[in-house]
């Protein structure tokens, strides 16, 4: 396969349902930066004639997202994911390209647009620092004109799923990070937005905190059918929540498709751990699977590990051959971890699957 294989960006523009809620075409954003010269003399020259250069943070990004989809938008620091989210939420105006979310352009008619979306920035709270949590919700109710019955129903849902009633009367500044994040999620969803943007929703949380947030998001996805775009460093979030991922690097979309397709495409090996009844050398096992593209790690004894690629051979075929060829007591098939896959994309962006 060459670089323009079927899973490359740009070709998965039509979502499965046909209708898209979020439509992004050729989205591009440049930043003008000043490159500082060194030393006193350099500083003086900078005053008169600064060296300006342009950094393209987001470069010709296109995708469509169908109603109800939960999409993971991932990339390293500085890959352009926050810039994309800022444009999708209307905070930044793009240098070029278009965005339409349900027929609205995010950075135009901001009040109309923001009424329909929810946003969570993991790095900062949107609640009023000095107010008790319950006062913040009261204010949001007014801001978004949430009717009383909807407000009551939403608060009940949040209590059930996030137990926010435990700290409803505390000021936000006294909450722990995990509690604050739960409140921020609830605040973003209070007005029942159709679209939810989550920028690093689990950043800085401990294991329990992360699990709480993921659990909640899964519930929301299944119950409310809200469309979610989620950026994260933590690929555990993606694995637990999203079927579809978009990987961005240096401002460009590197991959847009199913998590499964991503596993296939990168060709990271699947690992088959085998426990035998009788000790043998790995060379003996290699003979058994000689017909298949399988590689055995050098070992003696009962425990062995084989590696193979999904696109070369199916797991079932390997296991069948193995079980027919020798006495196996136990088997374990391990998929490559998603972060390994993403790391491999970053290491070698030019070379897609060979």
């Amino acid at each position: 396969m060459t670089g323009s294989n079927s899973e490359r960006s740009g070709e998965r523009n039509d979502p499965p349902g046909g209708e898209s809620l979020i439509r992004v075409r050729g989205l591009t954003r440049d930043y003008r930066l000043i490159k500082k010269r060194e030393g006193v003399a350099g500083g003086l020259i900078d005053l008169v004639r600064p060296r300006k250069h342009t950094l393209r943070a987001v470069d010709d990004v296109s995708f469509d997202i169908a109603p109800g989809e939960m999409v993971g938008y991932i990339g390293a620091n500085g890959a352009g994911k926050s810039t994309t989210i800022k444009m999708l939420t209307g905070i930044l105006t793009p240098t070029a390209g278009e965005v339409s979310v349900g027929g609205l352009v995010p950075w135009k008619k901001r009040q109309q647009y923001t009424r329909n979306v929810g946003v969570v920035f993991g790095q900062r709270t949107q609640l009023w620092w000095d107010l008790a949590v319950v006062e913040s919700f009261g204010l949001l109710k007014k801001i978004y004109e949430v009717p009383d019955d909807v407000f009551a129903a939403q608060m009940k849902t949040f209590n059930d799923l996030l137990s926010i009633d435990e700290f409803l009367h505390q000021p936000v500044r006294k909450l722990s990070l995990g509690q604050r994040m739960r409140c921020d999620l609830a605040a973003a969803l209070l007005h029942r937005p159709r679209v939810l943007f989550l920028d690093e929703p689990t950043i800085g949380l401990d294991v329990v905190g992360k699990e709480n947030v993921r659990e909640f998001l899964r519930e929301i996805r299944d119950r409310a059918g809200v469309t979610v775009i989620l950026t994260t460093h933590d690929l555990g979030d993606i694995e637990k929540l999203c079927r579809r991922v978009i990987i961005i690097d240096k401002g460009k979309v590197h991959f847009d498709g199913d998590l499964e397709a991503l596993r296939l495409r990168t060709g990271s090996p699947v690992r088959l751990s085998v426990e035998l009844r009788d000790p043998v050398a790995s060379a003996r096992l290699a003979e058994v699977t000689a017909q298949l593209p399988v590689r055995w790690q050098e070992a003696e004894g009962l425990q062995h590990v084989a590696e193979f690629r999904r696109q070369d051979v199916s797991g079932a075929q390997v296991i069948e051959t193995l079980v027919n060829g020798c006495k196996v007591s136990d088997l374990h098939l391990a998929e490559p971890a998603i972060d390994e896959i993403v790391a491999s994309i970053y290491r070698d962006p030019g070379k897609e699957s060979e």
Partner: protein, 288 residues
């Protein structure tokens, strides 16, 4: 591909009633917030009183020496009693309209949290203005009135020649609050363009105290300076309301002063509105 009916977001507009309700809520919340920090304002009552006392003795000495040297009892068109009243009323007014919108806004711009204001269906300029109204309400009750109670009897502050002027002075100080707040908002917006606006804010403090007439009445300054400030909006923050109190403007002059004040309030509001929209479009919001 067209976005079909089924996936269109619903257009939405806040009704006038809801708008009043929302911004009224911001006034209430700001009032409550300052009430929670009220302790720090008790000391303020004392320091304002000391400040007026200082001026009382300073001008007392100044007018006495003028009297003994020249036999004149007025300086810059004001008697000693008018002078003391001028100082007291301007500082009582200042304790009412004062706020730190410029500092709060510049902080939001510097740390990037202004972006959170852009994803809410309201306008941050309105929010900050109405919070300032809430703060002013708090200041009026906890600050201006207590200072009045102390200062007026102690230093023998004159009542206005016509009791109705008290009302017009208050109206004028309310318009001053709008002008002062919008000035502060504009200065805060400079943080979009400057790396550090501490210097600007300090310069603003000093310049305002002069240009608004809080430190000295304009009649103390040279002719050309008076001409310049008469064309600037700063006088409407302090000089104009205080001269209304002193009865220096009546009839048409009073009406004209209030109309011009209102015009400046609206003009500055619109300027700030425009500069905000322009800055947000043009300038990168820092941080995530």
């Amino acid at each position: 591909m067209r976005s079909g009916e089924a996936v269109a977001l619903r257009p939405w507009r806040r009704t006038a009633l809801a708008t009043v309700g929302l911004y009224g809520h911001f006034i209430r919340l700001a009032f409550l917030k300052f009430l929670a920090y009220r302790l720090r304002y008790y000391t303020g009552v004392i320091s304002y009183t000391i400040f007026v006392a200082g001026h009382y003795y300073l001008y007392g000495a100044l007018f006495a020496s003028r009297m003994s040297e020249t036999g004149l009892e007025k300086i810059g068109g004001l008697t000693l009693q008018e002078m003391i009243t001028y100082v007291a009323v301007s500082w009582i007014g200042r304790s009412f309209y004062f706020n730190n919108i410029h500092r709060d806004l510049s902080r939001m711009i510097e740390d990037g949290s202004i972006s959170l204001q852009l994803i809410k269906p309201y306008h941050v300029q309105n929010v900050m203005m109405f919070e300032a109204v809430g703060e002013a309400g708090f200041r009026l009750i906890m600050f201006s009135l207590p200072i009045m109670v102390v200062v007026v009897p102690v230093f023998g502050i004159q009542a206005p020649p016509d009791p109705l002027l008290l009302l017009w002075t208050f109206v004028s100080f309310c318009l001053a609050l709008v002008i002062y707040s919008q000035f502060n908002f504009l200065i805060g917006l400079l943080a979009f363009y400057l790396k550090n606006i501490q210097g600007v804010m300090r310069a603003k403090m000093v310049a305002f105290d002069f240009l608004t007439g809080v430190i000295l009445p304009f009649s103390f300054f040279p002719e050309w300076f008076q001409t310049v400030v008469s064309w600037l909006p700063f006088q409407y923050i302090s000089y104009v309301p205080v001269t209304i109190y002193l009865g220096k403007r009546s009839g048409d002059a009073l009406a004209e002063a209030l109309v011009l004040q209102l015009a400046w309030a609206v003009g500055l509001w619109l300027t700030a509105r425009w500069l905000y929209a322009f800055s947000v479009r043009r300038v990168t919001v820092q941080g995530g």
